[in-house]
Amino acid sequence: MSLLEITDLAVHFDTEDGLVQAVRDISLTLEEGEILALCGESGCGKSVTAMSVPRLLPPGTTKLSGSIRLDGRELTTLPEPELRKVRGKDVSVVFQEPMTSLNPSFTVGYQIAEVLRRHEKLSRRAAMDRAVELLELVGIPAPRRRVKEYPHQLSGGMRQRVMIAIAVACSPRVLIADEPTTALDVTIQAGVLDVFRDLRDRLGTAIILITHDLGVVADIADRAVVMYAGRAVEQAPVAELFARPRHPYTLGLMKALPSAAVNGRLAEIPGMVPSPMSDPDECAFRARCPRAQDDCATSRPPLVRQAAGHLAACFHPGEQP
């Protein structure tokens, strides 16, 4: 049994314009101490997939089906009070926007201590002491002073570290990091990734890293799931994925990497992502795909095994472009 098992997860949003299918039949697993990258363009459903685990999607308009099991315990049907014991304790989240994800009205120490007092039942004093240790752990200098400061007194990189300190405060089993480095300078990015690596090594935390940046994936992840239009199109260990990408979309993403730029220009994938409102029985990438053939239009390619641990959803998977 894996630490986290997501099976046939589908997420729909009920919007004014109709039903939006954000995630369609995703299945994936996460092992203890593993760093799994969810990658793809914005809107591909990677964040929605991850946020379904602690059910942090807007209630009321979200329809969720499938199964999410943490240590064998089903989370999708867990009553809200029980789920609140999981959030912040077993599953915690580092959000994308460090500038706005911290509450401007409370000290960072309070915001870290809060989660400790909630789950570890620590006293105010003990929680504050622990908050100082956590700030030190995530590499914030002068933590005794910083703990009494407010978010606006901290730089973006520091705020992101505070978010990480909150997320790891209760030594979660699973840490979800939603584009944790996107809003940061390149120099600070590396530092934040080091913090994640360190956490995994020290606490054995499994990490779901949501990113559109394949550079980050190559840098830190063990395994990657590439998503397109709400579905997983390729899944493989990172080394294997970069050595032998099978899906043309993955290949397109790799060509868009700055290191692969030809003559200083990034290759773009031409065309548009199909509408999330409809779901015809065809390959969703068909219109943008250089390898598209007639069969791509008649049925949807299933996610099938290409090599050991390597899955791809393509009728024409190539070893090489």
Binding site: L56, R84, S101, N103
Partner: protein, 319 residues
Amino acid sequence: MVWFILRRCGSAVIVLFVASVLIFLGVRALPGDPAVVMAGEEASPAVVEAIRHEFGLDKPLPAQYVDYVAQTLSGNLGRSTQDQIPVADILAERLPVTLELSALAMLVAIVVGVGSGIVASVRRGKLADYVATGFGLAGLSVPHFWLGLLGILLFAVTLRWLPASGYVPFTEDPGQNLQRMLLPALVLGTGFAAILMRQTRSAMLGALSADYVRTARSKGLAEAKVVGAHALRNSLTTVVTVLGLQLGALISGAVVTEQIFVIPGFGKLTVDAVLTRNYPVIQAVVLVTVIGYVVVNLLVDIAYAYLNPRIRLSGGGHG
């Protein structure tokens, strides 16, 4: 924070100065020669001249202004032309009545307005939201004085539960005092409750969709804590700002409410003074209102600064 407060105090002093000049000039602009008025219509020019000299009315305007400020600061606000009672004494008697009414009304407004605003935002799109929003619109559209009339019509004339009007000082009979203040306070408080409800609701809706609220939820905090601590704390600055902005309306509303319920407060004094052209009283009433307005605004600014760490911890202002 210290700088912020000092700056606010500085501008408060400037406002008071400008207001005092305006009041001073306003009184000079009134029709009629005050010396003639004081001396009486049939007094001889010599008497008028003597009075003019006695009260310093023959001095140039700036000198007269200095006199006026000096007199005011020493607590001498002149005498009421109606009954020759010192204006300062009248104010000392009337002001507490209005303060009690305003405080009670504010209490009603904060409890009802902020409370229903929070509920409406949390239950957005549900029945409770529609009820609260409807109440907010109605409260905004109904003038105080009509609400007061309806209250009297219902509770005093028809149901005979409460006395229609009148006032019993708190020190004489607290029970009677509160019983008689209940309806006026409700009437005065309703309009503000409506405004506070609308502002609280929209501030809370903003806060509830903020990233930091999502963070709070991700920590596994109870919904009461998420709403009551994280969202509300950030909405309070809006609420405090609105309270400050509504202060003028509160003063205006108190004047009207006292008139309807025949409460011998500051507001009734104001209206009566205008209707009887009791200029010393008008002058003092306007001045005291301005002072009260400036002081409370200063308090609101300080509360705002306290609630907002960005201002509390720096020398800068907001906006």
